[in-house]
């Protein structure tokens, strides 16, 4: 029998990794920073920061339209990021990667360019009860415009998706099945393979919100065979303001443009304008070039450590954290899913999530308190907020131990 409370060993590659993140040397309120708010946004390694600095200090230029050297260099660097992302996700072709501001914009893009032209009154969009607002509100807005209907699959008390019901809700009028891969608030890993399989059997397009999985595990979009997959750079050690949409080329080909402007057109005339092929059709205007360059550096960073190693270690660490928190006086976990990644939500009998957050902060520990953009999920559990600890590759058992110890102080204060 393994000791559930034994701290997981830290692989050598990850011990070193901690030094790559300058912010982790910072003190907060006189204490060393313990950063456990990674589901909100991860920290950035020096190599990503350097790539951005290097770009602005030496290569900065607009892209795609210049014959001069800076522009050629910047274009190559930006497109290199697309190539790397395509390889990272094992996309069939790099034209299947569209750059966006992040997961939120990616979902809105699919809603506008893919689904809206297909959706009539009475058509259905299927999601789950544990979605982030980003995977709820765009569909609600779409339903309002088209008369389509949002179908919401329930979850069990332990925070697992009721997958059978999710699948049974797939009907002849289901125009899209969208699902979060890993819940940002309670850490549930959903069986997306089974969901995608069932959707394919019924010819229903699928969208996977991988905002909380892409940094924790290997994803292979060809193996998954989903139609769309969305993610945010800032949650995977990369800059803010950039993220992406993977879309099967055949789907992207069939879609209308999103925003209009420069760079997404083939021909503009007042008699009629024609548009470029994907991915450019969906990328109007000057993109976030430095962001793209940061994506390339971020992928290099992750690959230099190895996704399997990261995934193995994080799985042990999050289980360790869950077990320690479960045996902490006054703490109650919200959601104990059968398969967990990245995040743990909890409440305390006496102290509200906000109070927990404030007290932990004075100890240098950063967790998030609130509804985590999952109000329906909170309501499902009869609460308005939780405290959430979420990990990344640089966290270790000492971070968890510090958290547990400080929660003891909270318990003391609020009794």
């Amino acid at each position: 029998m393994t000791d559930l409370l034994a701290p997981p060993p830290i692989p050598a590659a990850l011990k070193k990794a901690r030094d790559d993140f300058p912010i982790l040397k910072r003190e907060v309120n006189g204490k060393p920073l313990v950063y456990l708010d990674n589901a909100a946004s991860t920290q950035k390694p020096q190599s990503v920061i350097d790539a951005i600095t290097q770009y602005y200090a030496n290569e900065n230029s607009n892209i795609h339209r210049g014959v001069h050297l800076l522009s050629t260099e910047a274009t190559a660097a930006y497109e290199n990021a697309r190539t790397k992302l395509a390889a990272y996700l094992n996309a069939n072709d790099e034209s299947e990667i569209v750059f966006t501001r992040g997961a939120t914009e990616s979902i809105n893009l699919v809603a506008h360019s893919f689904l809206e032209p297909l959706a009539s009154a009475g058509d259905e969009i299927l999601i789950s009860h544990m979605e982030h607002h980003a995977n709820i509100v765009p569909w609600q807005l779409l339903c309002e415009r088209t008369g389509a209907v949002l179908k919401v699959a329930p979850i069990f008390d332990n925070g697992d998706l009721d997958t059978d019901t999710y699948i049974s809700l797939m009907g002849p009028r289901t125009k899209l099945a969208a699902i979060v891969h890993v819940s940002n608030s309670i850490g549930t890993v959903n069986p997306i393979e089974r969901i995608i399989e069932a959707a394919k059997d019924r010819s229903i397009p699928t969208l996977i919100d991988s905002a909380q999985s892409i940094q924790h595990m290997k994803l292979d979009v060809q193996e998954l065979d989903c139609d769309f997959l969305v993610f945010s750079g800032h949650k995977m050690f990369m800059p803010t303001g950039i993220g992406g949409l993977y879309g099967k080329r055949a789907k992207l080909d069939s879609m209308r443009p999103y925003q209009g402007g420069g760079d997404m057109i083939a021909n503009v005339s007042f008699d009629g304008t024609t548009f470029k092929a994907p991915p450019y059709r969906f990328e109007a205007g000057t993109p976030h070039i430095a962001g793209g360059i940061g994506i390339a550096a971020g992928i290099d960073y992750i690959e230099s450590i190895g996704r399997d190693l990261i995934c193995d270690y994080e799985t042990q660490l999050i289980d360790y954290a869950a077990n320690r928190l479960k045996s902490t006086a006054g703490v109650r976990l919200i959601g104990e899913p059968s398969h967990r990644a990245g995040a743990i939500s909890f409440v305390m009998n006496s102290a509200h999530a906000h109070d927990i957050g404030t007290i932990l902060d004075t100890e240098g520990i950063a967790v998030r308190s609130g509804h985590h953009c999952c109000e329906p999920l909170m309501k499902r559990f009869g609460i308005s907020a939780t405290a959430r600890a979420s990990i990344a590759l640089y966290n270790n058992h000492e971070d968890i131990d510090a958290l547990v110890e400080s929660l003891g102080k909270v318990h003391q204060l609020f009794g």
Binding site: H354, I359, G370, L413, F414
Partner: protein
């Protein structure tokens, strides 16, 4: 525990949050107002019963943190039996004194309410303290 934290969670405040006064729905209220802090999901409703411009009863119902709860508890205490205009003035100056870094809240008479002053060192918690007072103003605006 550092000194700012001690100043935030003063005993007065903790007592109000553990055993809040007037923490119930007022069935026959003349007005009520629900307000949410969208940043965290905190939710509070203030209920008022009023006759001849005097608050005869004030209660609240909340899903919120200790500071918001304590603030609501003190609020209902403070405004019961006071005239509406005075209550609004009090709410306005409390909100202002919490929001403005320069202003202290020492000049408000109610000593218990001064225990809310600790939030001023925690910018992200100020809204927790002001939320009930904003809801109170909302409820007043709904009186006929």
């Amino acid at each position: 525990m550092n000194s700012e934290l001690k100043a935030l969670y003063r005993d007065t405040l903790l007592e109000h949050s553990r055993e809040p006064k007037n923490n119930r729905v007022l069935k026959n209220a003349d007005a009520y107002f629900e307000l949410k802090n969208p940043l965290c999901g905190d939710l509070i409703t203030i209920y008022l019963k009023v006759s001849h411009c005097i608050v005869s009863e004030a209660t609240f119902e909340a899903q919120c943190c200790s500071i918001c709860t304590a603030s609501a508890s003190m609020l209902t205490d403070q405004i019961t039996k006071s005239d509406i205009e005075g209550g609004i003035d009090f709410a306005d100056s409390l909100i202002e004194s919490l929001l403005q870094p320069g202003i202290s809240i020492a000049n408000l008479e109610n000593e218990e309410i001064q225990s809310l002053a600790g939030v001023k060192s925690f910018p992200s918690r100020i809204r927790c303290a002001t939320l009930p007072w904003e809801a109170f103003k909302g409820a007043v605006s709904r009186l006929v």
